[in-house]
């Protein structure tokens, strides 16, 4: 028998080897070459168009993290373009302050943009989707109106001259290269974020918010950082836009422009960098080919948006995703490797016990849990069974902070767990899975599992932007651990496959792998055997026993009595929110009330 590591190694190059990294980078390199060589074959007017595409992409690249990755419907991002354009222009014009050099003005605009990005974005933490969309729309309207009214600064309807960048960027092609360079840097930075734990966390917030919370992802801090970055680059784009226009009035910043940015991302596809980049180029260039249609351009964008939403929600990125159209083997079995669990989980964590004391919670008049005592010990599998509505999942939700108990306490090693602090649970090494698997369908299986290890990364958001060493170390560590976790649950051959192509049973094991990334002291499983074949249930049992042997306390909510009696050290039976019986599997099996009420034999 090979060592586990030796067995894992051959599968890695196929999944993420240098060949696939290169082919992913190829379109970007091609665009880079075309961009650098553009002045050789482009005429004067096409230079303006190309520069405009670069300026738009600087904004769209940042907005892409907000819309495409975090899934926040920010429609009015033109507000930040306006803000950046006016800040840069007014500071360089010297009508209000002493005239500043354009680079300094651009840097100040970026700072202002970051602050306003945060202000516009933060309501997203509290508001539902449509509400947030409307507030950004309102903000865009307001900024334009202020620009009109604040004549002493902005020149009102008359406008203000844009900045002129000094040599070597003052000529048309000089300025083009300046914008192109910034666009390239933005592409690189956002691609870095996209491939980092932050990018994965954003997609988790978008598609599987409860899973993000259970993995310890702190939404406010992460979204805050993304909104600041997005605001800063949008304001920089504004400064460039003002220089390109050479004179700006509030009329230049219509909502149509905002819609263009937004639609470029959706045409490109959510969760992609290349797609929105192509979308931006397409939308900038398209009207030039159809001069009579210029007046209709926003109309056509809107039609395009409707078609995309209804027909191809995945956008260009999905059309270009050839890799995931290849068929995957149809008769594939999940063969977990319990022997890898010890290496994955490391030394048994010393966490004491997880206890519930007299916990009670009612919804309206219904007592969901009514004075429940429970003790989950490290290294043991604790079964929680009972008929539907007996409070099993509610118990799990109290432990993981989704519900606050009205009475009693949940303690970890004697210390009470704070109520409602969901994402803090991961830091206490309490992991969980869900009754319906919560997965990011458009991400690969490997990326989904890596989400589980988010809190173990050490690099900051800025380090990821710039791909500094700590970020790269985090990524290597997370990837290796995730591959090990996938091998342990028996899914490593599917690592590179889009998660939404998996079968239901495979999603269950993916969730377990993601939970194991936390090296949990306690693992809470909500009906992990539901929808599994008898054979798979047997393998699941062996896997869970191995996890318990490594020192983890397992709470198993389940309907499959066989699984419960096979692997549990201790079983609690619930009925109507109260404990009906507790003891070893043998005791429960012979408990008369339980047999009568529940086991039905």
């Amino acid at each position: 028998m090979d060592t586990p590591a030796a067995q894992l190694r051959p599968s890695r190059p196929n999944v993420l080897g240098s060949a696939s990294t290169f082919s992913a980078a190829l379109p970007f390199l091609a665009l880079l070459v075309v961009g650098v060589a553009f002045p050789l074959f482009g005429g004067g007017y096409w230079g303006v168009i190309a520069t405009r595409a670069c300026v738009y992409w600087v904004l769209v690249s940042g907005l892409n993290l907000v819309v495409g990755f975090a899934g926040q419907i920010a429609i009015g991002w033109v507000a930040l373009l306006t803000l950046g354009a006016y800040t840069t222009s007014v500071l360089t014009a010297g009508t209000v302050t002493p005239a500043l050099p354009p680079y300094l003005a651009l840097a100040i605009a970026a700072a202002v943009g970051a602050i306003f990005g945060l202000i516009i974005g933060l309501p997203a933490l509290r508001l539902r989707t449509f509400y947030f969309a409307i507030t950004t729309l309102g903000f865009a309207t307001i900024v334009t109106q202020v620009a009109l009214a604040w004549q002493s600064v902005t020149g009102g309807g008359v406008g203000v001259a844009g900045p002129i960048f000094p040599e070597p960027f003052s000529s048309q092609w000089g300025f083009y290269y300046f914008c192109f360079g910034l666009a390239a840097i933005c592409t690189w930075m956002t691609a870095n974020v996209a491939a980092s734990r932050f990018g994965r966390a954003l997609t988790a917030i978008r598609d599987a918010e409860v899973a993000a919370e259970a993995s310890g992802i702190a939404k406010p801090a992460l979204l805050g950082a993304v909104f600041m970055f997005s605001g800063a680059v949008a304001a920089v784009a504004g400064g460039l836009f003002a220089a390109l226009q050479s004179y700006i009035t509030p009329d230049a910043f219509t909502l149509d422009l905002s819609i263009l940015f937004f639609i470029a991302i959706l045409i490109g596809g959510r969760g992609s960098i290349l797609g929105p980049l192509l979308g931006t180029i397409l939308l900038t260039v398209l009207p030039e080919f159809a001069a009579p249609l210029v007046a209709w351009s926003t109309f056509l964008y809107a039609v395009l948006l409707l078609v995309i939403v209804l027909a191809i929600p995945g956008g260009i990125a999905e059309i270009l995703d050839f890799k995931n159209r290849r068929p995957i083997e149809s008769d594939r079995a999940i063969i977990p490797r319990p022997d890898l669990i010890e290496r994955l989980l490391g030394a048994p964590p010393d966490a004491g016990a997880l206890t519930l004391e007299q916990v009670a919670l009612s919804f309206g008049g219904v007592h969901a849990i009514d004075g429940l005592d429970l003790e989950i010990r490290p290294g043991q599998v604790h079964g929680l069974i009972g008929p539907n509505g007996s409070g099993k999942t509610t118990t799990l939700n109290v432990i993981s902070g989704y519900y606050a108990q009205q009475y009693g306490a949940v303690r970890l090693n004697g210390a009470a767990l704070p109520v409602f602090a969901r994402h803090r649970r991961a830091h206490m090494r309490i992991a969980r899975t869900f009754q319906t698997p919560r997965i990011v369908g458009s991400a690969s299986v490997l990326q989904n599992v890596m989400i589980g290890g988010t809190i173990d990364g050490e690099g900051t958001f800025v380090e990821s932007l710039l791909s500094l060493p700590r970020h790269r170390r985090d990524e290597v560590m997370l990837r290796d651990t995730a591959m090990l976790a996938l091998a342990a649950v028996g899914l490593e051959r599917l690592a590179a496959v889009r998660a939404d192509r998996l079968q239901h049973s495979e999603l269950r094991f993916t969730e377990i792998a993601r939970a194991l990334m936390l090296r949990p002291a306690f693992l809470l499983l909500d009906e992990p055997a539901a929808g599994l074949s008898a054979e798979e249930i047997g393998r699941l049992g062996a896997l869970l026993l191995a996890i318990a042997r490594a020192g983890t306390g397992v709470l198993l909510v389940e309907h499959h009595a066989d699984l419960i009696f096979d692997i549990c050290h201790h079983v609690t039976v619930l009925n109507l929110g109260r404990m009906l019986a507790a003891g070893t599997p043998a005791e429960i099996r012979s408990h008369r009330e339980v047999v009568n009420a529940y086991l039905g034999g």
Binding site: L127, Y131, G138, W296, L306, V309, L310, P313, F363
Partner: protein
Amino acid sequence: MVESIVSTGLAIGCIYALIGITYNVMFSASRVFSFTAGTLGMLGGVLGSLFIARMGMPAAVGFFLALAGGAVLGIVTEIVAVRPVLRSLDQHLYVLSTLALALIIQQFTAIEWSTEPQPFPRLFAIARGGFDQQFWLPMLACAAVIVGLELLYRHTLIGRAFLAIAEDTYAARALGLPERSLRMTSYALAGVIGALAGFAGGEMLLAFFANAPLLTFYGFVPVALGGMGNNRGAVVAGLLLGLFQQTANFLVGGIFASVAVFTVFIIVLLARPEGLAGAALQRRV
């Protein structure tokens, strides 16, 4: 001065409240907010001006045709932008599809009608002055809609079916209610109300394509503050919004009044995301 603030404020407030009710009627039938709410208001004004001023129809005919246009747009919204995405509500695609439809109509209006505000005809040949028709028409429309909806919901079978759908779609479907046609009827009704708002407020707002985004925003404020689906809340919040906006208009000037409205809107929403009169929803895990 105070008189002018109050009459303008209440009239504008009634238009906002009507757009808010438009949002609510669509929301009750489908759990979806539609960006076309403000577009309907804009269209009411543009169609009124088109039929009466440009094509010279009698005011009453123009009125009914404008409302019919609103109803058609409501039904189109349901078929094109809402029904296809209802199955995946959690992906919030409706935000995008209704936005797209709203933009399509808005742009079409801008190109085919005019990019400049066009005058709206005076409906009654009464001399201007005092408490003018441009003020009392929106108020009358608002009152008529509130009374009409109240009668519909309380005293007709179809109105009760609407309520049932709004309360629990699955249960209503299980009872054998024709959910789809009720939803379409609701959208047609919402279209009529939205167009009525724009028609009644035509003289104040003019027939202008850019009214669409403004009404979409200001019409949503009463919904957000009054609690979603709550028509009474929308009327109260709409009237307050109108008065507040006009007062701020007078005190600090037109454009900073918008800033004031926006600031208050954001602060209230952040403090109470469920609205001043709403209750928090429990999230399902």
